[in-house]
Amino acid sequence: MSSAALALETPGGRFLRRFLRERPALLGLLLATGVLIAAVGAPLLAPYEPGANDFDALLVPPLTPGHLLGTDELGRDILARVIWGARTSMQAGVFATLLAIAVALPIGLTAGYYRGWWDSVAMRLTDTLLAFPFLIIAVGLAAILGPSLGNATLAIGLVQIPKIVRVARGEMLSLREESFVAAAIADGASDRFILLRQVLPNIMNTLLVQATVIIPIAIIAESTLSFLGLGVQPPTPSWGVMLTAAQPFMAQAPWLAVIPGLAIVVATLSFNLLGDGLRDAWDPRGRR
């Protein structure tokens, strides 16, 4: 591409061109979209109700006619449950991430912008939160509020807050030194304008990459909590719940564990690949 054409390219165009060249990122985008479609369209896509029993086909292996991925010990269709499980996982992943960003972003941005006592308080609070192991918080919340998908999501989101506070604060600290922030102040811009209109758009890409890092962590965390009985409760389908249920049948029906395990791997990997691709495409130091 000629340099003249490059110079006329918008930031968005340049990003898109670079992103489309990243094969792993495209694969990630494809798989993540698939997981999202499964989550949103579960009622339409799943061949059976997730709780429907087929007592003529208990523990049938994959590729059995009528049950593409086999059935479990109660004759429930594994494909249907994996698709519904995607819905559970994505709910936990997306809502925990949104919760964390909604709480952490204002704290991080204002701490980095105003510094001073508020910065100290915010940083000590995040340090305190970081000192609690994730499972302790999750067990504590489940004990107080009762185990459920909502409470598991709350615990997962809570634990991610410090990371986003730190990222947002760090970005703010470096942007605060940019001339365009000084120029905006010199042009009479208010703090609100500077935070929302000058700084926030400049960190959207970092936030989006951060979200693609947190969503897979949240998916794994949801599966972990459900596996331990602290999250989604049976018979609601969740990949973690399916893994728990698979344990007694590991020898006769390994697919009961392998299939939800693969689903977790695919969902997690897709977001990680997507995040790496986004970061590389946005990185101004990267190759053209």
Binding site: L8, S179, F180, G188, A189, F193, R197
Partner: protein, 333 residues
């Protein structure tokens, strides 16, 4: 004649781990309407801090310790934040040194100029766009209809500086503060930017406070000059008189360190640039003696004991020195 901008005894202090540092030390200046006042001095002599302190933009933890800044009779230092924001960008425009980093990379040129118009003039987006197009052609940007939708990285340095100037003059300010507006640009571009600033001064009738270390820029553009050294004002004069009859040894040192391409010295030999030995000192306390004496060839016991006051030596020409003039026997130091 009353002045548009009157700064009195302005002092800016930065607390550091090693104690306070005085970046600006009791500086006063007057700027009349439509006048171009250049502030010159070495790096670190406090001229940028002086410019920033006028609009209350001293970066924390720095603070304005004392002094008054009157713009058209209003003491800016007494204004509450919201009123000061209404002055910034509206009555006083500001142009910075690095045009590329002073523009926000994620927004188009038009959006960034329009922001100022929307903020201070309450324009709707269509009116703002019309005004922005007019501003772009006013600052000499060709094909404004195309440039308005471009991003900062698509502009050259000179173009970006013209956009910054468009932002600064968008609301017809009475005063433009230009902090090293040409320093980051190619020499060939510098002259164009300088010419633009002067023509805008004539057309819009605004005064310009021009911060620079480039005496060539001063000679081309300034009506009056103020020389700063280590946070102090050491000399002020009409531009011509400063070059004709510099009074302060520091000013003489600055003039001696300027290149004159094409000019052959009288003795025909190669002309050596003279440097001023030593560095600008870090000021830990307000001056109580001449701050230039460690680097000054004329320094004597009095310079170390007493603070020289600014004294009028020639018409409208003042200097703070006990041994002013071309030198003891007429020779440059």
């Amino acid at each position: 004649m009353s002045s548009l901008l009157a700064v009195r005894d302005l002092t800016v202090r930065f607390p550091t781990d090693a104690g306070p540092v005085y970046a600006v030390d009791r500086v006063s200046l007057d700027l009349r309407a439509r006048e171009v006042l250049a502030v010159v001095g070495e790096s670190g002599c406090g001229k940028s801090m002086l410019a920033l302190s006028i609009l209350g933009l001293v970066p924390p933890p720095g603070e304005i310790l004392e002094g008054a800044v009157h713009l058209d009779g209003t003491d800016l230092r007494r204004l509450p934040d919201s009123a000061l924001r209404a002055v910034r960008g509206k009555q006083v425009g500001m142009v910075f040194q690095e045009p590329m980093s002073a523009l926000n990379p994620v927004f188009t040129v038009g959006r960034q100029i329009g922001d100022v118009l929307r903020r201070h003039e309450g324009l709707g987006s269509r009116e703002a766009r019309t005004r922005t197009l007019a501003l772009l052609s006013q600052v000499g940007i060709p094909a404004p209809g195309q440039r308005i939708d471009e991003y900062p990285h698509q502009l050259s340095g000179g173009m970006a500086q013209r956009v910054m100037i468009a932002i600064a003059i968008a609301c017809h300010p009475k005063l433009l503060i230009a902090d090293e507006p040409t320093t980051a640009l190619d020499v060939t571009i510098q002259a164009g930017i300088l010419r633009l600033l002067l023509s805008l001064r004539d057309r819009l009738g605004m005064a310009i406070l021009l911060i620079t270390h480039d005496l060539g820029v001063v000679a081309d553009a300034a009506d009056r000059v103020m020389v700063m050294y280590a946070g102090r004002k050491v000399e002020a004069a009409p531009a011509e008189d400063l070059f004709d009859a510099p009074q302060h040894p520091y000013t003489l040192g600055l003039l001696g360190a300027v290149r004159h391409p094409g000019r052959v010295p009288e003795d025909g030999g190669p002309r050596r640039l003279r440097e001023i030995p030593g560095l600008v000192p870090t000021r830990r306390e307000p001056a109580d003696h001449c701050i230039f004496f460690p680097r000054c060839p004329r320094a004597d016991a009095r310079c170390q004991a007493e603070l020289p006051a600014l004294q009028t030596r020639r018409p409208e020409h003042e200097a703070a020195c006990f041994h002013p003039g071309r030198g003891p026997s007429g020779s440059a130091p």
